[in-house]
């Protein structure tokens, strides 16, 4: 058996008659940045939901550190160290930014309390550039700040695998640069990062490996350079006609 950190084997997820994921398998090594790309509706977010236990795969299995985690409730997966952010941000609007991040610190893996929790929350707010907004209500944040709050809360749970679902969507170019720097520094600090992203440049620039989904199926996986020149990937992104036009 492989010693990869996270192993997904033939994950299938159907909603009624709709097949959102169809036999997707992949492995993520510790310390990697692992990109997940694909057109809208390809099943990327559903894949993350299955990984963290927010959704139960119809079939297939997911192993983290050798143990099966599919079928566990979301909170149990988080307490083992796999956490995700939400594409559509879900801050606790009536709480301050600091309180939002504290929830992650109090529960999650570390279950910190008191001064220890406060110290961790402070350092995460600093790292994610939210220290200046710590006492603001989360409902008053801009979209860029809200995306950073999603990351900050997830980090506060002290994960070993961080699944980021489009944290750069809606950001301006300088904010995207900032997010990329942050993600690299997280990887360098030992975290394994799974990354769903629509900004192809960002995902190619960051990822050690890339998985490409289309209509719920894996159509490619490998190094960014190899994957992005794969004909199946190009046709999924650009369409057959465009490809034919570009070739002629």
């Amino acid at each position: 058996m492989s010693d990869a950190l996270l192993i997904a084997s033939s994950i299938t997820k159907s909603f009624g008659g709709l097949l959102a994921l169809n036999g997707v398998s992949f492995e993520v090594e510790a310390g990697q940045i692992f990109g997940v790309i694909g057109p809208n509706g390809a099943g990327k977010t559903t894949l993350f939901s299955c990984l963290v236990g927010a959704a139960r795969p119809t079939s297939g299995e997911i192993r983290f550190l050798g143990d099966r985690i599919d079928g566990l409730p979301n909170w149990a997966v988080v307490s083992r160290g796999v956490v995700r952010t939400h594409q559509i941000v879900r801050p606790f609007r009536q709480m301050t930014v600091r309180e939002n991040v504290s929830v992650g610190a109090h529960f999650g893996v570390g279950r910190r309390r008191g001064a220890e929790a406060a110290w961790r929350v402070d350092s995460i707010l600093e790292k994610t550039g939210l220290a200046g907004r710590a006492e603001s209500l989360a409902g008053t944040l801009s979209i860029g700040e809200s995306k950073r709050l999603e990351i900050a809360r997830a980090l506060a749970t002290e994960p070993s695998v961080l699944c980021l679902d489009e944290v750069m969507g809606g950001l301006n170019p300088s904010e995207i640069q900032g997010a990329m720097t942050l993600i690299r520094s997280l990887r360098d600090s030992g975290l394994t990062v799974l990354l769903i992203e629509h900004h192809v440049h960002a995902v190619v620039g960051l990822s050690d490996r890339i998985l490409v989904l289309n209509f719920g199926e894996k159509i490619a996986e490998g190094n960014p350079g190899v994957v992005m020149s794969d004909p199946a990937v190009m046709s999924a992104y650009l369409g057959e006609d465009e490809l034919a036009g570009a070739a002629s």
């Binding site: 979301n74 909170w75 504290s102 999650g108 110290w119 749970t157």
Partner: protein, 322 residues
């Protein structure tokens, strides 16, 4: 590292302790009628604040809290009749109330939507019918406490201490990890679980805490009134009042349930002493509830905060638009 702003805990807690000292000294100066009214207000504060731990902090609306009041009252009455000192029966009543809350919460908290609220109505009515139907509870004619168990001074002090304790507990929960988890569950249960919060577990804890406290109040109720019946402690209108007090005062806050409880018990005391208006209090409660729902869903505390906000703004924006 940051230190939690002390004003969120220390100042409110100091206020509560100061109020408790005053209220415990009050029997030296006040007449029995006024002390009786203070007992009723403290009783209402206990019920409203305890309900608010689950209904306000966690957003789980229960309309069946008379069940816990009744469990506490009947535990105290039945055990006192067996010769046990009434105050010694209080912990057992609280424990039974908490255990019963677990039985109601376990199957319903896992479901999303209004199932919990609906279940609480059914369960509390079922237990009322049960208490009225079996013989060991005295059936619908109720139970009388054994002679010699009445001591108003003692019951007054116990109720004041319980009220202060519930408010202190609310202040502590508000800034604790449990309080943040409850608030997270209320605002977005999926996002809370995605950060590792076991939503079912924290809801069960909040339910058990508040049920145990209400059962304690039920025991003190039995001691003070010396007579309980299904119609008095398992009354559905009582369950409704317990919900309305925090909502009118300001749901999910510490001060709101206290404010609502004071207003409701004051109204009830005034109305009960006016024979023509005796049965109109539910009508008044309903009217208050509609006003709150229409104009300030955050209750009187919300209205006060809005007023403060207006005073801080420049004048031109403070003028209401017509």
């Amino acid at each position: 590292m940051t230190i939690r702003p002390p004003s969120r805990i220390v100042r409110p807690a100091a206020t509560v302790v100061a109020a408790l000292v005053l209220l415990l000294l009050a029997p030296r100066w006040l007449d029995r009628g006024t002390l009786n009214d203070l007992w009723s207000i403290a009783f209402a504060i206990v019920l409203a604040s305890a309900w608010n731990i689950l209904g306000g902090f966690a957003g789980q609306i229960s309309i069946g809290y008379s069940a816990f009041l009744g469990i506490g009252a009947y535990t105290t009455a039945l055990l006192s009749l067996k010769g046990i000192g009434p105050y010694w029966t209080l912990p057992l009543g609280a424990l039974l109330g908490a255990a019963f809350s677990y039985v109601v919460g376990l199957p319903t908290f896992r479901l999303r939507g209004p199932y919990f609220t609906i279940a609480t109505i059914g369960v509390s009515e079922a237990i009322r019918v049960y208490a009225a139907g079996v013989s060991y509870t005295g059936g619908s004619s109720g139970l009388r406490m054994p002679p010699g168990t009445f001591d108003f001074g003692r019951d007054y002090a116990a109720m004041m201490i319980l009220a202060a304790a519930v408010v202190l507990l609310s202040i502590w929960i508000r800034s604790s990890a449990l309080g943040k988890a409850l608030s997270a569950v209320r605002q977005d249960i999926d996002a809370a679980e995605a950060l590792g919060v076991q939503s079912t577990r924290v809801k069960l804890i909040a339910h058990a805490l508040s049920a145990g406290i209400v059962a304690l109040a039920g025991g003190l109720f039995a001691i003070n009134f010396q007579y309980i019946s299904p119609g008095s402690v398992f009354d559905f209108r009582l369950s409704l009042s317990i919900v309305l007090m925090p909502i009118v005062g300001g749901i999910g806050t510490v001060a709101g349930p206290i404010l609502g409880a004071i207003i409701f018990s004051y109204l009830q005391i005034k109305l009960l002493s006016t024979p023509a208006l005796r049965d109109s209090y539910l009508f008044l409660y309903g009217g208050l509830l509609m006003l709150v729902m229409l104009f300030e869903p955050r209750g009187l505390v919300g209205a006060w905060q809005r007023l403060q906000g207006l005073m801080r703004l420049p004048m031109r924006r403070a003028v209401p638009r017509v």
